[in-house]
Subunit: 349 residues, 2 copies
Amino acid sequence: MIKAKAYAGFDAKSDLKPYAFDRRDVGDTDVHIEIKYCGICHSDIHTVRDEWGGAVYPLVPGHEIVGTVVKVGSQVKKFKAGDLVGVGCMVGSCGSCENCKNHLEQFCTKVATFTYNSPEADGNTTKGGYSDNIVVNEKFVLKVPTNLKLQEVAPLLCAGITTYSPLKHWKIGKNDKVGVIGLGGLGHMAVKLASSMGAHVVVFTTSPNKKDDALKMGAHEVVISKNADEMQKQAGSFNFIIDTVSAPHDLASYMAMLKIDGTLCMVGVSPQPHQIASGALIFGRKSLSGSLIGGIAETQEMLDYCGEHNITCDIELIPVQKVNEAYTRVLKSDVKYRFVIDMQTLKDS
Amino acid sequence: MIKAKAYAGFDAKSDLKPYAFDRRDVGDTDVHIEIKYCGICHSDIHTVRDEWGGAVYPLVPGHEIVGTVVKVGSQVKKFKAGDLVGVGCMVGSCGSCENCKNHLEQFCTKVATFTYNSPEADGNTTKGGYSDNIVVNEKFVLKVPTNLKLQEVAPLLCAGITTYSPLKHWKIGKNDKVGVIGLGGLGHMAVKLASSMGAHVVVFTTSPNKKDDALKMGAHEVVISKNADEMQKQAGSFNFIIDTVSAPHDLASYMAMLKIDGTLCMVGVSPQPHQIASGALIFGRKSLSGSLIGGIAETQEMLDYCGEHNITCDIELIPVQKVNEAYTRVLKSDVKYRFVIDMQTLKDS
């Protein structure tokens, strides 16, 4: 067994605290990774606070993981010690269902194993990236481009692929006008990626003070969504809108932004159901859709793309001792635009 | 002016009654049609009872019109006296907006003119097909195949194109499993069309007594939607579901029927908004969509297709004097599967 230090939740209500546990030994097809940085995703908070149910404590969150390879199993061919690598939301899937065969492991119909709080074949529960090391099957390990700042790469493993995948699936390019609802961890990546693909990008935000940032990230226009006049001017003009807001909000006004055959794609799981009038879809043959992270091959494609286009996340780097404070700030949307934990600081815990 | 006899609504609550009025003279680009048959669409009832607002009385409903050409204007080239023709939901559009140019006149952003209760350039309100004749610009007149029973063609002009258009738009063919929710006027056409395109068709209905009819129409399976076991067996197996039910119903259970990347397309305008959880779309990259009739070119394509494949509607032919009784029965879903009015019977009013 391999000793691991981490920060974990011990129940739904208390702060995360230091935690020591054992990782499995490095199997023939495993990669042992020293974790350098791990991003904080809103899902971490939902899970550790058991807001989605099913929390198994002690619970080590974290699925935006980057680090260096320490050791590889005897049959591992893609990686060697010293390689820069990443791990995202998944560490296993059945590999044989229709979705796995189509490189959509996130929709595995049998045994998708998520990076934390997910049951494994050996009866253990997966433990995530708020930790100094991790052991992962090589199929779920990604190569990280060496030209990017490593700490700014971490959130690409979730926020990056979650926005890249729908932009690619709906074939966004230079003839498209793309709306991005919400400028947070996901939204700011959607802006950078969509504008890099050549689209005309418009950000919808409730925060006037984010306007300058959005323009710097590549947005062409910023609409303050509380301003009815600004909203009205955009009506019927979008091919595609990516909705990164998981809090309850009015979908009808955004459906009205779409052109004929336009799609609004949700990437944030809302706690309450949305209301939608059938007429909002019928008049204009519009679609309300959703997208979930991305497959492993597509995650690698996204990392390579970000390397080529020099795209990373805007982050605030924190020591692990500040993780509880960071959670409080995430819930207030007070972060520009993703917290990343420096895992070297675990040594001080 | 041209004398017309009709049945009209005179207010939101009373029965339809006989009504005489004048049609415009036949202009250079107009076609004058003697109406033989007109279908009864649920929209007729909503409109004449002012349930969607904006009713202008006397109101002559009817947009599933077939008949013969009496006379054509001097510049009309496509039609001549004696031709079998049809008129659907639209009689005009701007012709110059992006949607009109793309043959999607139903989404004209300027002046779409519907067949009844729609303002015209001359200040009049359009009057529909519960009438012995009509004058329509040739661009909105369709050729009717001569090999089909004319009275069974009438509902193709709305129920036919409303279901044909989404099946074509979503490229339904022999590798697809298609669900049809509701076996009414729209649903029974969806079954006939989808099965003719080679799809495996499953009907979802609350009425066990419609099962035999559905199978005769070409359905491969019939699921009684109140039966949880039957529903469960179909989970995750559909590429496409066409939802013809406009009354409130549970969308979540049908979203769960879709495979990855599946689409549920609504064609009935519901009076109340639907509830939809974002997770029902995100987990499976599914789409909730809608479709509205079809463009004029596509309506002609549908009529030609029905001629080639010998597809018509299942109808109950009634004299115009029974129209109010028919409305009562439509509201009880007591019709197999569309009422069509024999317009020759207007002579007896």
